[in-house]
């Protein structure tokens, strides 16, 4: 059900994260929807309070206080007697309350398939798209022995299992065998001991009866449409919907306070608006924006424990999400060091530091995740680690966001099976239109220029790409809000959610240091003209404010190109932001930093100084 401003004039949305519950107020003011105030409070799903609604009430109380201050109106109130007043009556109440949740570790799933790279991967895509963390993918061909698979299933304790396998009319034996392994493991749900683990079967429909016989006494089995009815067709929708239903009806019921919260989230007609897993809501809004603007989008949320990457690519707006479970800036910061290696982190640092000091600093951040870098040197180090966490997470994303294996061309089944690792990535940095960053290290960097530099160094955007950050991580709220009012969600997204940093122009290709790489003539709105033949290996920052547009004539030199059609010359509009236009001639494919430490440090300092990323004292 969709509403408009006639029914929705004041909406509260919360996101119950694992550490903080964030509340925002969205109001219809002067003919448009705007996000007006925000409040936050610690999430209370765990001991000692064990009731998620306490944190919601605290965050909404802050919201009420701020709204009263903003409007100089002491009568404003959203809740009475500890519950929302819906619909709004004057100063009292709201027209809708919606929420997302990732508290208590979010939605944790295990998926199964027959062939890991085919039905297994489809199951994984469905689970990730629904907002889950995939704890493991178990497939008939995954090289583990059956008894190892059983042990693994038994250890995992997921919130639910999604079983795929076999196209309709295809293998029954392998699908049933997997069901037998699940039955033998007798898996228990993570939360609550008094209920059976929900298992969704979305495989070969001809095997339904056998799967039911095998599993019905052990688990709470639910059947939905085959996720891969034919090799060439992926049908994720029904499985995703089922996951959301189960998340609400079974998993959330077990988390402290959620059965109360689930009765609170409602629209103006008192109809329940289901709580959505936070990443699923982010996926919703990303897809809505890609379609509305007709662009390709990559979004990243780098948290303390995990890094989520969302992308929408191709003219069919294919959505992909990956979770890099152990790449984060606090709980799993140490794993970033282990995965990236010290030299990869240090390559972004414009000074030398004792290795053991750095290692201990990283470990101390891991055990005290909420601390913030007070010293400039520590800030630079944290941002260097962030670049590597983002780079690694994006590499994983590119490997996962691929064309459906077995569908690129007509082929027989044996051919499809043989291409186990193929499937080209659909992530094309040249055609990417917008790169959005969120998460503490990107959203709360002391200078926005640092956020821009982290995004550029980690993602290496190619050609012309707009950069933005979600300043207060509002995307989840807007994603779930779009379920009842797309208009409010997209209006607020455009006006209040994103802070545009600017546009990055990066010619692709290699050249020689000092040789011309890019000639840029940029007519700025104030009448001034920027014109320069920029050598290879440089960066330039040209201030251009939010909402401003500059006309640019660009010409790449040597073997370098500027867009997906391999053009070397372009006339384009470049959009401004709080940072401006960044011209990056350091090369792409390959992007290489100088290997000699002194040259590297000097180059880093030069780029950082040009981008005004850090105070001069650290760049001396």
């Amino acid at each position: 059900m969709q509403y408009d401003e006639k029914r929705l004039t004041r909406i509260v949305a919360t996101d119950c994260g694992s550490t903080t519950t964030k509340a925002i107020l969205i109001e219809w003011i002067d003919g448009e929807y705007r996000q007006t105030v925000r409040g936050e409070a610690p999430t209370t799903v765990e001991a000692p309070l064990n009731d998620v609604t306490k944190g919601v009430i605290n965050s909404v109380q802050e919201l009420e206080e701020l709204a009263r201050l903003k409007y100089h109106n002491p009568n404003i109130k959203f809740m009475e007697n500890g519950e929302f007043v819906i619909p709004r009556k004057g100063d009292i109440g709201v027209d809708a309350y919606v929420s997302t949740s990732s508290a208590g570790g979010g939605l944790q799933m295990m998926v199964t398939g027959v062939v890991a790279s085919m039905t297994g991967e489809s199951a994984e895509r469905a689970a990730l798209g629904a907002g889950a963390i995939v704890m493991d993918l178990i497939a008939s061909n995954d090289k583990r022995m059956n008894h190892e698979k059983i042990e693994r299933i038994r250890q995992l304790r997921p919130d639910m299992i999604l079983m795929a396998g076999g196209e309709d009319g295809g293998t029954i034996k392998h699908v049933v065998e997997m069901a037998e392994l699940v039955a033998a493991a007798d898996p228990k749900p993570r939360l609550g001991s008094g209920y059976k683990l929900p298992v969704i079967y979305a495989g070969n429909k001809m095997a339904i009866q056998e799967v039911e016989e095998t599993l019905k006494d052990k688990v709470n089995l639910m059947i939905t449409e085959n996720i891969r009815p034919k090799l060439e067709v992926e049908n994720l929708g029904p499985a995703r919907d089922k996951i959301h239903n189960i998340f609400m009806e079974h998993v959330m019921q077990q988390a402290p306070g959620y059965n109360k919260l689930m009765t609170w989230t409602m629209g103006p007609e008192h109809e329940i608006v289901p709580i959505m897993p936070t990443p699923a809501a982010v996926g919703n809004i990303m897809q809505a924006v890609a379609r509305a603007e007709n662009i390709e989008v990559v979004g990243v949320d780098i948290g303390g424990a995990t890094t989520d990457i969302f992308s929408v690519f191709t003219e069919d707006f294919i959505f992909n999400r990956t979770v890099s479970a152990n790449l984060g800036m606090s709980y799993s910061i140490s794993n970033v060091l282990a995965s990236a290696g010290l030299p990869n982190i240090m390559r972004w640092v414009p000074f030398s530091i004792d290795e053991s000091e750095l290692r201990n600093m990283i470990k101390n951040k891991m055990i005290r995740p909420t601390t913030i870098p007070s010293l400039l040197e520590e800030l630079v180090l944290e941002q260097a680690i962030a670049k590597e966490a983002l780079r690694l997470a994006f590499e994983q994303h590119k490997e996962f966001a691929v064309t459906l294996k077995g569908t690129q061309r007509q082929r027989d089944i044996s051919e499809a099976f043989s291409q186990s690792t193929s499937g080209a990535t659909i992530v094309n940095m040249m055609s990417l239109g917008l790169l959005v960053g969120s998460g503490g290290v990107l959203s709360h960097a002391p200078r926005r220029n640092q956020s821009a530099m982290m995004l550029i160094d980690a993602f290496l955007p190619e050609g012309i790409t707009r950069l933005a950050v979600d300043s207060i991580f509002m995307m989840p709220h807007l994603g779930v809000l779009s379920e009842i009012c797309e208009k409010a969600a997209t209006e607020v997204f455009n006006k209040d959610c994103l802070i545009y940093l600017g546009t990055c122009v990066a010619p692709v290709g290699k050249n020689k240091l000092g040789k011309p790489a890019l000639t840029a003539k940029i007519n700025l709105p104030d009448g001034t003209v920027f014109e320069e033949e920029i050598p290879y290996g440089e960066m330039r920052l040209i201030p251009l404010g939010v909402g401003e547009v500059a006309k640019a004539k660009l010409k790449a030199h040597g073997g370098m190109i500027l867009d997906k059609d391999k053009n070397k010359e372009l006339e384009v509009d470049l959009y401004g932001g709080v940072v401006g236009i960044i011209l990056d001639t350091r090369g792409r494919q390959p992007f290489e930093l100088p290997t000699d430490p002194e040259t590297r440090i000097n180059s880093l300092k030069k780029w950082m100084r040009e981008l005004k990323a850090y105070p001069e004292q650290i760049l001396k």
Binding site: E46, G104, G105, S374
Partner: protein, 376 residues
Amino acid sequence: MGQAYSAGLTVTENTVLRKERLLPLKGEVLVNKGDKVKAEDVVAQTLLPGKVVPLNLANKLGVTPAQLSNFVKVKAGDQIKKGTVLAENKGLFGLGIMKNSVTSPTDGEVESISAHTGQILLREPRIPVQVKAFIDGVVTDIIPNEGVIIENKSAYVQGIFGIGGETVGTLKFLASSPEEELLPEKIDDSCAGTIIVAGAFVRYPAIDKARKVGVKAIITGGIDDQDIKQLLGYDLGVAITGHENVGITIVCTEGFGKINMAKKTFNLLQKFNGAKTSIHGRTQIRAGVIRPEIIIPLEFQAEELTAPEIKLPVLEVGTLIRVIRQPNFGKIARVISLPEELTKVESETLVRVLKAQFEDGTEALIPRANVEVIES
């Protein structure tokens, strides 16, 4: 603002503790409400299901799954021994020539036989699991079939990070000051079975020596990341610990690097030198924070067991704090004011700060996020 909530670790000479001691699966509780228990006593036990051993009988016999029922010699629920014949064919022409039989590789029970896949699942015998009391105390509640609640009065210190599981021993002081590094020479056979207390630091050679002489646990201010790596054989990626099997438990009270043990902690432990102590290194930073614990049970009367009200640690003027990030990392201070306005620190981050006075009388502005309340 007069006060703010903050992260905190408890260091106290006297508190009422309440510990849930639960089985991983339902089982049998062995004690009664009101019983006095010792840390070493088993309070509940159960049998975990044995490991599942799958065998594809049909493949091994060379028959189709549908034909398998003609050859199987056992049925679901049957108890079996290693070597029990599970299925056999009749050989060529039914004459027993080249007869093929499949025997069980394990003792246990037949779980299921599938006519769809030809697979038989065998379950190995159940594995007994016991839960010990871990702390001396009184059983104040029974959770039927699941476990017990044990309460006591204890001196209690929360560590910041640890490795290794639960253990019990007597506390043995080896450090003469909170600044001291524990050297291997100080560890000898008299340390066997004890929980030794270092000062600011302990390096791998000392840890290794302690392990070899049979020390149960080490309490230290700081530890080096590379020493932990050497001890474990791998780099710690995420802080979920306590399951390590390295022959010793280690609890750090301050963090990574050489960091003086907080005087309050040092003095408390020194006071209880020689006392029976329960300790574990279990640490989980996310999804339900778990910190390592050092528990020294005290004498008490049943009526003293009134659990303190649970409250979040509060920062206010006078609160004792530990600085948990550079600069001044590891120093102990008292809050002298809590300015409301946001302050720009060296990294240009705008943060809420507090003004604190260190033990030497000097003062500093510190981001509130970079301190930890020392609770008592």
